[in-house]
């Protein structure tokens, strides 16, 4: 008789989800799925709206990464306008996107992942959360809070709000940076360096104790996709996409926003409202790929800033080719935070950063436009069509979590097969299965554009389809 284990809800994620693990008659794991079970529909209700409203509408998709949606959306609008934004506007947007990356990665590492990493996968679930981390490692808790504040304060200073800021508009930004704001941000840089150094040092000390998890946390060959600069350094806001294969070989390069429909398809599985993105020439599921911090560090040849470069060189020693285990997303995230802080400092010392010319204007010059930008958890694409009056007639979004969907599902299966034996499971085992998903830091609200609560559970289902056990956490 087979069984199914359900983990519902999966905790410490952006959003909510469910995991089911199907066992065969011998109690061995046969299959496993990560379910995203709601739908929202931003693409549909934006139809009929003026295109210039899209950035502020699309930012509402997510409270964690609204800036990336703002930027990808503004770029799609600029394609419709056929304008090139001023250099200073591009740099200011880049800074805001990096500030968001730092605060989002801090949330992922310190609030969501660190309870597992610092307290242990088998630690008492009653204390395995941010309160437990604060009690056991207050210095790291303070560093996390401070790094969140660092990124959020920059977003607030530029866009007036920490969540769903304005300021980024089609054509650039609404107002230039003042010297007072620049100096305020620069004054916070040293503290940010100190805090990320503390976190990276703590992570390196414990990483080796997770060898067993590293071996089975979505540790398999795959394709990877991210933006990259022409000089092959890391890029979050501009550049073009590169797709590499399992050995690090470049499959396709220079994929601009307008070409994404040629190369990216979206498959549908019956158990999830999140689509499964894939590289069209390879088909589905062979063309599935990973995005986000691990993908970016596997693709780029350099970080482009000194402190991050030093850590990147060490990271590359983890494997001869691409670093495969998704456990290493945590490490990659910390290195990207260093890069973000360094790059923000570099941008602020650009002599042109206080230029007043920060916005280009134009009307509708094309009836279709696409834009892409890196969100903290991976690249996202916005694609719009408009009528001659500039009203949206069609919109499509491809979001990071959908692009990681296949890898997350395979990762859950890999971990479940390793840990669940003879139909028996413990809380610590189920936590490890959840922790696989956490490494990707998925944003389920973004990926489904879902509205409302979506709890995540683990269910144990028999071969006859009967629900034998169920763990639900609100």
């Amino acid at each position: 008789m087979s069984q199914t284990i359900t983990i519902d809800p999966v905790t410490r994620l952006e959003g909510h989800g469910k995991i089911t693990i199907q066992l065969n008659g011998q109690g061995e794991v046969e299959d496993a799925h990560f379910h995203v079970t709601q739908v929202r529909g931003f693409e549909r209700f934006s139809e009929g709206r003026p295109f210039y409203e899209m950035p502020s509408l699309m930012a509402r998709i997510c409270g964690i990464c609204p800036v990336s949606h703002l930027i990808a959306s503004a770029k799609a609008c600029e394609a419709i306008m056929s304008v090139r934004i001023p250099h200073t506007a591009a740099q200011l947007r880049r800074m805001m996107n990096l500030a968001q990356m730092v605060q989002s990665h801090a949330l992922s590492f310190f609030y969501l992942a660190s309870p597992d990493l610092l307290l242990g996968m088998e630690s008492d679930p009653k204390v395995r959360h941010i309160f437990g981390v604060a009690a056991a490692k207050p210095e790291l808790g303070r560093a996390g809070v401070a790094l969140r504040r660092f990124g959020q304060s920059i977003i607030e200073l530029l866009g007036d709000k920490r969540i769903h800021p304005g300021w980024v508009v089609p054509g650039g930004v609404t107002e230039p940076l003042t010297s007072e704001k620049r100096d305020k941000i620069l004054a916070t840089i040293p503290e940010a360096y100190a805090n990320i150094a503390l976190a990276l040092d703590a992570y390196k000390k414990i990483a080796d104790t997770f060898k067993a998890e590293i071996a089975v946390f979505a540790n398999f060959p795959s394709n990877y996709m991210s933006l990259i600069n022409e000089d092959e350094s890391i890029e979050f806001t501009d550049g073009a996409l590169r797709l590499i294969g399992p050995t690090g070989n470049t499959i396709e390069d220079g994929i601009t926003a307008t070409r994404y429909t040629e190369v990216i398809g979206e498959a549908v599985e019956p158990y999830s409202y999140t689509k499964f993105a894939y590289y069209k020439p390879l088909g589905y599921p062979e063309g599935s790929y990973r995005v986000g911090p691990l993908a970016r560090l596997n693709i780029v040849k350099s970080m482009g800033t000194p402190k991050a470069e030093k850590e990147f060189e060490e990271f590359k020693q983890l494997a001869a080719g691409p670093v495969e285990s998704s456990f290493h997303y945590h490490h990659a995230r910390l290195i990207e935070m260093i890069y973000g802080i360094e790059k923000i400092e570099e941008i602020l010392t650009d002599p042109r950063i206080l230029d007043k010319h920060v916005r280009a204007t134009a009307g509708v010059n094309r009836l279709e436009g696409a834009g892409q930008a890196e969100a903290p958890r991976g690249v996202l694409h916005h694609h719009y069509k408009v009528d001659e009056n500039g009203k949206i007639t069609w919109a499509n979004l491809v979001i990071a979590t959908g692009q990681n969907n296949k890898a997350m599902n395979l990762g859950v299966l890999q971990a479940a097969k390793h840990y669940v034996k003879d139909g028996k499971f413990t809380e610590g085992i189920l936590n490890r299965v959840e922790a696989v998903v956490r490494t990707f830091d998925p944003c389920l609200s973004c990926s489904t554009h879902a509205f409302g609560k979506m709890p995540l559970a683990i269910t144990l289902i028999s071969a006859r389809g009967e629900e034998l056990d169920r763990v639900v956490r609100d």
Partner: protein, 170 residues
């Protein structure tokens, strides 16, 4: 008065922090931010009062609380009769991490847990902490308040003002 928009990059030591919570797009749930707006104006010339309004109370706010000697939390309540204004002390005993009521959530924590987190992280505990609530009648989509909550606003403002002034005297 320090508002979050005036000084977003630094935390100035304030005698009193008014920390409101609510969604201004969900009817009476927005009463906290509305009262915070009033408080920011009322105490605009007093550098000892800092006012913050957030959609949710999150762990990040521990840093703000640690920089304050007293805290007044302001929120709507679905457990009280619509329009009822309540002022209650927030327990300032130190809960261990196992006592956290919203442990797995980073999106919303209650005042007691927030004070406990502040103590764990910064070793400090506010001398005074109170929770001011206004009973919600409707939290449906909308930017207006129900009649009972609209009618309760003057009383809620009065309680807020009196509490802050009392904090400042201590």
């Amino acid at each position: 008065m320090n508002s979050d928009l005036d000084e977003p990059m630094h935390f100035e030591k304030a005698n009193c922090l008014v920390l409101a919570c609510g969604n201004t797009l969900r009817g009476d749930d927005g009463v906290g931010p509305r009262l915070a707006e009033w408080a920011a104006h009322r105490f605009r010339d007093d550098s000892n009062v800092r006012v913050l309004a957030r959609q949710q109370w999150t762990p990040d706010l521990a840093e703000e609380i640690a920089a304050s000697e007293s805290v007044l939390f302001v929120d709507s309540s679905i457990d009280s009769a619509p329009g009822r204004v309540n002022l209650v002390p927030v327990a300032t005993h130190v809960n261990g991490p196992e006592g956290a009521t919203h442990g797995s959530s980073t999106h919303h924590i209650d005042p007691t847990d927030l004070l406990g987190l502040t103590h764990s992280l910064y070793g400090s505990m506010s001398a005074h902490a109170m929770l001011l609530t206004v009973g919600a009648g409707s939290t449906e989509l909308g930017e207006t308040f129900s009649d009972p909550v609209e009618a309760a606003l003057p009383r809620a403002r009065g309680v807020l003002e009196k509490t802050v002034l009392r904090f400042l005297e201590n």
